[in-house]
Amino acid sequence: MIRDSKSLLGAILLVLCGLAGAAEPELLEPDQAFRFMARLKDARTIEVNYQIAPGYYLYRDKFRFTLAPADAKAGTPQLPAGKLKHDEFFGEVETYRGHLAIALPFELDAGVTPVITLTALSQGCADVGVCYVPHEQKARLSLAAADGAASDVSLGQLLGLGQRAAGADDALIARVFESGFWLVVASFFGFGLLLSLTPCVLPMVPILSGVIVGAGHSVTKSRGFLLAAVYVLGMAIAYAVAGVAAGLSGAMLSAALQKPWVVGAFAAVFVALALAMFGFYDLQLPVALQGRIAAASNRRYGGHYAGVFSMGVLSALIIGPCVAAPLAGALLYISQSRDVVLGGSALFALALGMGVPLLAIGASAGALLPKAGPWMETMKRFFGTLLLGVAIFLVSPFLPVAVQMFLWGALLIVTAIYLRAIDPLPAGAHGYQRFSKGVGVLVLLAGLVYLVGAFSGGRDILQPLSGFRVTAREGEPYTAPFQRVNSPAELDARIQAAAGRTVMLDFYADWCISCKEMERYTFSDERVQARFRDMVLLQADVTANTAEHAALLRRFRLFGPPGIVFFDREGREIRGLRVIGFQPADRFVTALDQALGFR
């Protein structure tokens, strides 16, 4: 079955590739044939990357690298060994195909140049019998990023981001797009797989199981898989289409997905699903709709599939909040490059990745689904509890900490009661029962701690009892002294007025979860505040999203908050030092130091 699912995925991706490939002219433009990318590996080395299209190659002895301005000097590039190619005129020549990474050491005389420009000259040919004239490609490299924690982007790191989807850095994801088509699609598939490990996918399990159970008693494995595949396909297509449409229209979809009432609605759906799990009522489609779907499936064989497909499309909405970060990255790319095919394919792959566990469930024809009996009841309650947790997590940015603590406390205590934490153990209790009670008591205690924290003024969700600490800070939590800016003109005026001081511009919105996290955990850090004193702090609150706000965002090519931009003492933006997404205080202090270090 696993092989089946792979080949199906392969077929879908091939179709997509065909769409993109059929439109290609016979010969690629040199920038496409030899995709060029450079980055700072460390303070003394530039890594030059070429992604060479299949059927094309570069000559090893034709590379020339130069740096500007003149105080940067390029050393000898470390060219890996090439593939020997026999040429009837030139004899044995070394060529490169596929991916090529060249390390280029360099030296700086003065050491104050913030940005250097690399000019790379390369020469290559295509197997069909043409050569390209020596081709010049340039890259701007910001030295500030060399030792910053945010500069080094590896695939592993990018995938690591998926594990903490809530605070993922959409700029990094936008950068993935600079690699080849397949790498992008594969990375997004990977993101999807990681997202499938988050609780976001949970609500889809009961929906899908309903679909499969509803298909009748004699569900074969292949039919189960097919149903699941149709469902996942519906979800994936909804994502690709919504993403492309939003990207082209430039709308802040990720912003819309984080508005309080939208998030509230999602949370309500999660609560409703959770209550169904606890058996308060049976979750079913409205009777009228069920009747129509049944009628349709009686009329023709495909009717049921159409229903399942549309369930998939609708389900895409439910997992919306979870995919906000990768979605924002993909949208950023689509809106800037207008490369609809790649952006759409990436989102499609993302949704397919998220659907893999669902496909496994479908392929098992319900075998992986809880069977009737006490085991299933336990499973359902467990899922229900998780769903309630997700609901609290979703709305937590909009709630005071005390309310959050109360909710967590309540959830934990009710869970403990379900675990029979305070029921007496029967005389000859099983080991399992004893263990369960032990866990229940622990959960009960944790719940009590949260309740106490909620009523004793605890300010940190991770340290519920911090309200009791005598050394706790007095009065209101720290708020950084931001000056508000609302338009590009206002920003320019403020930067001018800063005269010789480093400026930090923070994009903020009420719905922006990572902005609130920054405020709560990072800006409140004493080391951060110490550095803030030497800076002019500006904040653009784009909650209202006026035309002026949009102009501000566009100026920095941001799609929306979060985003922190720094300006040096002469009012120029320090490129390569942007902070996008949540950063803990340790890393943020490093960024502030670098910003302050610019003259």
Binding site: A23, P25, L27, E29, P30, C131, V313
Partner: protein, 175 residues
Amino acid sequence: MVLFAAVAIAAAMGGAAYHLWSRSGGGAAAAAGSGAVVEQVYAAPLADLKGGAQTLGQWQGQVLVVNFWATWCAPCREEIPGFVRMQERYGPRGLQFVGIAIDQPDKVAEFSREFHINYPLLMGGLETMELMRQAGNRAGVLPYTLVIARDGKLVSREPGGLKESRLERIIQPLL
């Protein structure tokens, strides 16, 4: 719900179709206006191997084969012996080859001696690349060959190595 799904699929296909259309539209635009391109080809200032100023206009009225090439380009070197043979065979009937090298003059001169090239070789530069692009060589590849009829019509544009047999079929009706 079925309707929603149908709209979603239609939108996806529409997007793909637009993508294909916008790409092919770009190609058609480049093909138009080839007459003006020939004027530019005739007028483009080029240098001979001794540094003297030359234009291709001096061969206007002949069947002109303009070959963009370089000594460092293996497929270019492959086709040149065939050009030498054809220049010898059809030159008296009004066929004129001209090679425009994207290269260094000394290398071109050495190559010319070695391969006994019997037609004019001129030197191209950056603006020659632009000229090639205008003439339809969007990817900027070598070799690239233009065939221009006696009346100044651009008859053929050939990226990549050109076989003698194919070139003969193109020029026979023009002579």
